[in-house]
Symmetry: C2
Subunit: 331 residues, 2 copies
């Protein structure tokens, strides 16, 4: 069968551009013993994959060219050599940006037919699990505390804020447009949303966090992390999830001022985490998240683009902050 792919053609110098990718077409082999052939129906574009294109060390490993761009996708089994998967089964898979992909059975997750498959790219997938474990296990918010989250309209951030609200916290979102701010407050129940691009950002944040910040969920690093540090209460916790402010550049900023001085004075804990470390608790988290979704208490925002060839521009736009919710490419 013919497989359409988007390959990494060159590594970005400075900012990523769509020309760092190229479309390719090739013949895909039938599945070998133990393998399953999956036809992609949709995949997610997430900021964290930009780190994998940097020369610097990253959990994503060293960058290479000539390979298909990586991503998590959902799809349908079109050919199977194993008993557990039948043709037509809906699965989650590390599809990458391509229409067909071959997987060992153990790399797949079967999708419960009562669930919307696309939720596995959002609240029931890596984004939702990252929000859940980062907020609840790393941040450990208590009822009545203030939770601040950056990239608050992003795929992880919009879920973090809602989960904080569901845990009885006051929620302050930081994002880069007033339109996003309105979505967070009006549709998702954030208490307040602050635009970091405003000239008065620091003053506005101060007013929005009059009682300080107890938990800061950091998706950005950089200037927003710097501003959060000065708002942290004694004993505050910073869950370090991502560094989107530093991905799309050759010259990352130095760390924020006040590290480690403010950490000492205010006994702040900063803890970096990767969702994979919580794998043994995924099932219970997915159950809780599914319950919230069913009850309408947690809203999953998706921001869809259509067609494989739209993925590169969709990624560039995401890194510039163009998305609201999880960016998904439908094939």
């Amino acid at each position: 069968m013919r497989n359409q792919q988007v390959l990494i053609d060159s590594l970005p110098q400075g900012k990523l551009s769509a020309s760092n990718y190229r479309l390719a077409e090739s013949e895909i082999a039938p599945p070998a013993a133990g393998q399953v052939l999956v036809k992609t129906t949709a995949f997610a574009i997430t900021a964290g994959t930009r780190a994998g294109l940097q020369g610097s060390a990253s959990y994503a490993g060293a960058p290479t060219t000539g390979v298909v761009m990586n991503s998590t996708g959902v799809g349908e089994v079109v050919e199977s050599t194993v008993a557990e998967y039948a043709v037509g089964d809906a699965v989650v898979a590390p599809t990458g940006w391509q229409t067909l992909s071959l997987h060992e059975a153990r790399a797949l997750t079967k999708i419960d037919p009562s669930h919307d498959p696309v939720h596995y790219l959002g609240p029931l997938g890596v984004n939702g699990l990252t929000a859940y474990f980062g907020l609840l296990h790393v941040g450990q918010p208590k009822t009545g505390e203030t939770v601040m989250v950056s990239a608050a309209a992003g795929s992880v951030g919009h879920l973090v804020g809602q989960m904080a609200r569901l845990n009885g916290c006051r929620v302050v979102g930081v994002m880069g447009s007033d339109a996003k701010a309105q979505v967070l407050v009006d549709q998702l129940g954030f208490d307040v949303a602050v635009n970091y691009k405003d000239a008065n950002y620091r003053q506005t944040l101060k007013e929005a966090t009059a009682n300080g910040v107890d938990v800061y969920f950091d998706n950005t690093g950089g200037m927003i992390l710097g501003s959060a540090l000065f708002r942290m209460n004694v004993g505050g916790r910073i869950a370090c999830c991502g560094v989107v402010s530093q991905y799309d550049t050759d010259s990352p900023e130095p760390g924020p001022r006040g590290i480690p001085g403010l950490l000492v004075n205010n006994r702040i804990t900063m803890r970096g985490f990767l969702v994979f470390d919580f794998a043994q608790h995924y099932a219970e988290a997915r159950q809780q998240i599914h319950t919230w979704l069913q009850a309408g208490e947690l809203i999953s925002l998706t921001d869809e683009v259509s067609g494989l060839e739209a993925a590169p521009e969709g990624f560039v736009d995401l890194l510039a902050g163009g998305n609201v919710g999880t960016r998904i490419v439908r094939i």
Copy 2:
């Protein structure tokens, strides 16, 4: 009675100098009801008090002039209005840099007559307790792990390294002179000591921490924190205790590069702490430390200067790294 004092005469612009202090003499009132008059026999000079002379926010509060320089001291009761303290009792007190001082009884700690009073300025005092709780409660080292400590020949650092050794860890000290390095390895049982002033510092540190660092006890911040971050193992802990690299300046450096990116990739926890938060556990810690001292397993290094008037130069020299162990001024 006449009281000799060292007052803060002016706040330092840039680096601290002895001329920021002046000697003064005044009459001290007899103790009012509930008070105790203490004659200082010795006091400690610690780098952390430099933070109290900075305009920036610090746990030490806003800086002022015309007041006696603060410090913890040991002394003898010379006049008492309370039953718990008799003339001649040895006590720990917030004496400051002066020969006599008045205290409410609750501000004093009685010294066990079987203990060396000067140990209350070192291993049984704030320095020792800071080392103990920062290493064991914040850093949580496990047997066989590697512990790195900066300002390793300082009042806190030289105790941290020994306590890490006593907990079965490999100990790597970082300090600014080869003479100090020799003391740490030859007298205190550090496994290796690395001079951060060497041109090859980063490479030497890499070789000294071939299996990475599991716990970094940070007394300095700045460049040494930056170098430690790149040596941390997955799941490593950084106990943020002090920022001596940033105290004696008007223009602190930005935070180290790699924050928060490295924290995420390697799931590192950085936690700031103040020893006062562990006050309810002081007694048990002192007992353990006393046991180590008695057994000769923990060595307390002191670096003494003589006479109140020597204190300002002693502080300037300490900030330049001139001390080995706890700097104590004997009256």
